[in-house]
Homo-oligomer: 416 residues x 2
């Protein structure tokens, strides 16, 4: 099925072209096996920079990289765009919306999506930030709200349009809040001279008592101080429970009137039938070799080893991908499997121009040094020479001109 | 209304931020009048290069330029994003979907959209190419069809997915056909090694007996020869009348099975109530001063002077915009009006790499020289230093690498 050329080698199917899937594919490059990658998108999306696409700092294509380009030229590597629904481990087939595909080895790296925790009003009203599509939709929403506020003569409605409420104080929420505040402080007033930007508010609501919980308390505090200095209204211990009558509801009835609810408060593994995905966050349960079954592996955001749960970040997915790739080769050659051991390379989050926090082992850096480190590491991990150049160019342009040039509202649709 | 600051000056309202509207705004820069520009988009779109966005040669933002950036810093210039429905000349108000706006002078430069000539099957099935939204939608369609063809095991369906039918042999149709053929000839086979690209067909159907009717017969012939050399299946005297059962129908019953119908066959002026728009192509009738009424002007694709009809091209809109801007100032100062006189600066169309045709006065150029001229003129007219650089960069990259790097399918929407 699926028009894959017949091959004398056994077939590895990799579901997902994110960090994990790509690392697995790379590790299988010299394996001699047939590798088929499936993804519902035709491009790898560099999720750590989605917030910059949303705040018009980066072109969407700067952080998208066609999966076919990556696989190009590798012998017996194939890409197929399809939406996978699950797996039938009895028959060794992957099930998709457009047919089935047999595998000898399977690597499930299908990732996670936004978790609304069952709150349907919030799901319907809020803007998530887990894909380039969503980042562009958020960008459009920001500029639409500003344009509407500019036209609007009712003060209450204008306030509602100028309140941007970000829920979730992890890296995504923090980075987005910082970027939005900078947009307001530096860029937008020149574009909207008739609008009073002291009335535009960027809120960051966090359920727990500190931001960036994956970081040390010192970094959390630094982040809070920096965001407040940039004019972000940070509320901690603010648990959002509903969106009703145009307002965000938190802590049993407190309200912020807002047309712009941005939800960065949690993720849930993508739906996947046929494997035990009853672990926390709908994740698939794996063993210390990232295995679910005989020749079935799951890695990255969609997987959890309950014995030693790991954070859902790119580094884990990449390292698991490499481990699984090597182990598939080990199995083919009748060698013993290597256990997966995670090496934490540290975490970093940018807060604004010249402001970031970074933690690498015992090293804690903040401010300008952390910011430069952040730029450097992100450039390093972006795929493709052309994309690196584009991102550098966009960053340099914004840094020098204090401008975000990508403020056009663009949607991929037929007009009426 | 519309939150425009009160001013001691009279107000000029310009509807549309295309070539015509911008030229008028520019001519009014030193007028001392209050200028309000309204557009349903927040950016100027450089329509001549839409086909390159559609064929993944250019970033959408490279040919979009935020209108607020253009007006930025000009005293008493204001932009409002709104969808204009018409005008009430009795009360001197512009009507929009979100309220009314008074004017002292009005410049209608609202442009034109795709004309399906009442064929609703074609309207429903086809991809137009009159805005960046539509160009992106077409780009997505191209790559989706290729991905589907790659997966598909039914030969007939695969053929249908690989037939790209462009209707309309004007500049847009010709340029798009050339770009698609080059994509097929040079770029796509590396990305889809399992697909037989001799089966991908680019059709160009033209109702009349020659392509590029605005050009000399010699240029038309050159264009036809070039396109055929590039492997475009050009059909002349092929009048498309319907799209039914997955096929394009032309000349009373001939069929091309195709999932990809691209419609570049004609334009119709945008709907506009309150003015006499009963002329050919729904255009608003203007006099030799581009006037419709006392202090109401119409310019560009939406207007026609029946005494001396002009082609619906950027040059006409730009020159009319300048004329109208000057005449508004003349009226303010009690001076005589200047008649509009069109100066034809020539036409050009690109066919492919190193291939173009250009006609300037009596000069007819084709091939490499025309192509370089085409590049130069288009770069010159793109707004903004940053956009010029971006376009140059994208062009240089494609030229040197024989690659079109922007092949990611991206849509601005919330995911399911």
């Amino acid at each position: 099925m699926y028009n894959i050329p017949t091959s004398s080698s056994r077939r590895v199917v990799i579901i997902g072209g994110g960090f994990g899937g790509l690392a697995a594919a790379k590790a299988l490059r010299e394996s001699g096996l047939q590798v088929v990658m499936i993804d519902s998108n035709n491009c790898h999306q560099f999720q750590p920079l989605l917030y910059q696409v949303a705040t018009s700092g980066l072109e969407p294509t700067a952080i998208a990289f066609p999966l076919r380009s990556i696989l190009r030229g590798r012998k017996d590597f194939h890409f197929r765009m399809a939406y996978v629904t699950g797996v039938d481990v009895e028959r060794c087939v992957v099930m998709t919306e457009t047919g089935e595909l047999e595998y000898d080895y399977l690597v499930v790296a299908a990732g996670a999506d936004t978790n609304y925790f069952g709150m349907s009003n919030i799901e319907a009203a809020s803007m998530p930030l887990k894909s380039i599509d969503e980042a562009l939709a958020l960008r459009n929403r920001i500029y639409r709200s500003l344009e509407s506020a500019q036209k609007c003569e009712c003060v209450e409605e204008q306030e509602r349009l100028l309140n941007f409420v970000i829920v979730g104080g992890g890296a995504t929420g923090v980075e987005l809040a910082g970027a939005l505040a900078e947009l307001r402080n530096r860029v937008l007033p020149r574009d909207f001279p008739d609008l009073d930007f002291s009335r535009m508010k960027v809120w960051l609501l966090n359920a727990s008592d500190r931001l960036l919980e994956a970081f040390s308390e010192k970094s959390s505090e630094k982040c809070l101080t920096d965001l407040r200095a940039m004019g972000v209204d940070v509320l901690v211990e603010a648990k959002v429970s509903d969106y009703a009558d145009g307002a965000v509801i938190y802590n049993d009835g407190q309200r912020i009137e807002s047309a712009n609810l941005i939800w960065a408060s949690g993720i849930i593994a993508n739906k996947f039938e046929g494997l035990d995905n009853t672990a926390r966050g709908r994740r698939i349960v794996i063993d210390e070799y990232c295995r679910v079954g005989e020749r079935v592996f799951a890695i990255g955001d969609i997987a959890i080893n309950n014995e030693s749960p790991l954070p859902q970040v790119a580094q884990v997915a990449i390292q698991q991908g490499r481990n699984v790739g090597r182990n598939v080769i080990n199995m083919e050659r009748g060698r013993a499997l290597e256990k997966f051991v995670y090496k934490n390379k540290g975490s970093m989050a940018t807060i604004g121009r010249n402001r970031a926090v970074a933690e690498i082992g015992r090293l804690r850096v903040s401010g300008f040094a952390a910011w430069v480190l952040w730029l450097f590491v992100h450039l390093l991990f972006i795929l493709g020479f052309r994309n690196k150049l584009l991102v550098m160019w966009d960053w340099a342009w914004s840094y020098v001109t204090h401008d975000q040039p990508l403020r056009s509202i663009i949607e991929a649709k037929k007009r009426r």
